[in-house]
Amino acid sequence: MADLSALRSMNRLFYVLLAFGGLAALGGAYAVYMMEHHGHIISGMNNQIVWGMPHVFAIFLIVAASGVLNVASIGSVFGKAIYKARAPLASLLSIAMLSGGLAVLMLDLGRPDRIIVAATHYNLTSVFAWNVVLYSGMFSLVIVYLWTMMERRMNVFNKAAGLAVFVWRFVLTTGTGLIFAFLTARQAYGSALLPPMFIVLSFAWGLAVFHVVQAVIYVWNEKKLDPEILQRKKNLLGVFVIGSLYMVATYHFTNMYFAHQHGFELFILRDGGIYPNLFWWGYVVLGNVLPLLLIYAPGLGKSKCVMAAALLVVLGAFALLYVFIIGGQAYPLNIFPGYEVSSSFADGQIASYTPSIYEFLLGFGGLAIAFIITTVSVRVLNFMPQDKPYISD
């Protein structure tokens, strides 16, 4: 009987979690209603900072949705057994985060009611329009990929589907990076380094999210992750974190080499108030140095340390995206190089931005959508990684 009561309390906990997720999603819906009704005036965004907090959430979710598939790719494309066992969970997380991210992006539009126009009037030169195809294509491909894994008769197509997903997600994250890389006039963007930077960032962020969810599922099912597997996964996370830090450093170094970019780099890295603080403390220290210590320092690297490292990587991701998206717009657009500029439209001034509660509600609503999809799916379908006794391959 003791077992039964434990089961009951787990059941209750599931519904409590679902209720929390539902409440957060409802908060997002409320924010959408308010922004639809009053306009973006109730957000913190304005004509200088045109993309704000919702975009930080949305881009995190979309980039992580692509990166989490790395786990699946290592399994399906490179044939590593311990990753293959985790491919269904990785695919589920990808679909969940993509749904959450796209929902936030879509619902932040000035006219979300017109979203169908994006399909009926397609502009071939717009990277946003390409992304409409890339995101929906990814969604469908990952569903097919899941099908080839979970339906025995479809298993024969698993390798092909895995390869297609592998290629598609690289193109997809390239597309996300290109959104910014194509903004030639803005100092913060317009760099060919951005697509590869986003790809490497996606590896780290996706794996961090995967690790957090996997750890929770193991605790929920009262199972323990094989220490050997944990060891390999934490090392991989460490490598990805180092890789992404390298890409971000390269992006700033190349900027610093160009004299016309000095002002912008000094703003982001030293003088810009909240932006350098978030960059150095949020991204570099909390999001990189500390996780690397937790992973690699002698005596650390145990299950709890890896969990903390993964959570910190996610936190660092938000800090970096805030600096990149908001800080990049806050620095004045250089319309007259070599001139000091002033006007009634904030020319030559650092733009100010204070995110409003509605932006956070919308962002957390997106996280909630991803959370609900994951929680319900893990409950009703078998996404628990099934490991054979670990043999190194």
Binding site: N47, Q48, V117
Partner: protein
């Protein structure tokens, strides 16, 4: 012929007649409303030459005229639309100060049109860059892409709109070169309002036009010429 057949023919005839009577007024109204308007001509390239030496720092007449013409509030908060603005620029190397109006530069290769996912941002055959308010979904990507910060997003519900210049909450807007006036043979409100005649408007392709000849006789610049967008608005005296 059987009775049934005759009846059926009668029924078909009556139905067709009734349908014609029902549709005809609608068709008539539609053709009246649309008229046979002439489309913009690609032989024309509308543009402006702005003489910054004639632009007075404390003068805001072009901005006021734009606001009145297009039904803008004239507010200067971070969420208010500003289709045209006065910018003071100071040369860092020698301290020379210049004042000039800045608005959509009506580029030949507009980045806003390239990035717009729904073709809401478009360039008319005569070079005017516009936003189709019915297609704009309010993603603001064009605002990110514009090198001149020429575009504004409508952040709140609008009242008292000018019927000639429909605007909409949740969509992006910018200087239309007063397209509604141009199509009536008038010049843009800002050019008309400038007392110092600093804004010269005309067809850059017309060899007989004043702007065509002036662009050839005086030194003028495109802002951010390095981006090679071939702007329709040029500046003299920079």
């Amino acid at each position: 012929m059987s009775d049934t057949n005759t009846q059926r023919r009668e029924f078909l005839k009556t139905s067709l007649g009734a349908a014609a009577v029902a549709i005809a007024p609608g068709m008539l109204l539609y053709s009246t409303a649309n008229g046979k308007t002439e489309g913009a001509s690609s032989q024309v390239r509308w543009g402006m030459l702005i003489d910054t030496t004639q632009c007075k720092p404390d003068c805001n007449d072009c901005v006021t005229a734009c606001n009145t013409e297009n039904g803008l509030s004239g507010g200067k908060s971070a969420t208010d639309s500003q289709w045209i603005r006065k910018i003071e620029i100071k040369d860092v190397s020698n301290g020379r100060v210049t004042s000039l109006p800045m608005m959509c530069q009506h580029c030949e290769h507009p980045p806003c049109v390239d990035v717009c996912p729904t073709q809401a941002s478009f360039k008319r055959a005569d070079g005017i860059v516009l936003v189709d308010r019915h297609l704009c979904i309010g993603c603001r990507y064009c605002m990110m892409a514009c090198p001149y910060k020429a575009r504004s997003f409508v952040h709140e519900t609008l009242t008292d709109q000018n019927p000639d210049v429909p605007r909409g909450k949740g969509t992006v807007e910018a200087c239309s070169l007063c397209v509604h006036r141009i199509d009536k043979g008038q010049i843009p409100a800002c050019a008309e309002a400038c007392q110092n005649k600093a804004i010269l408007f005309g067809n850059l392709n017309d060899t007989n036009s004043e702007i065509y000849n002036k662009v050839r006789s005086v030194a003028s610049k495109q802002i951010r010429a390095d981006l090679q967008l071939n702007t329709g608005v040029r500046y003299q005296g920079l």
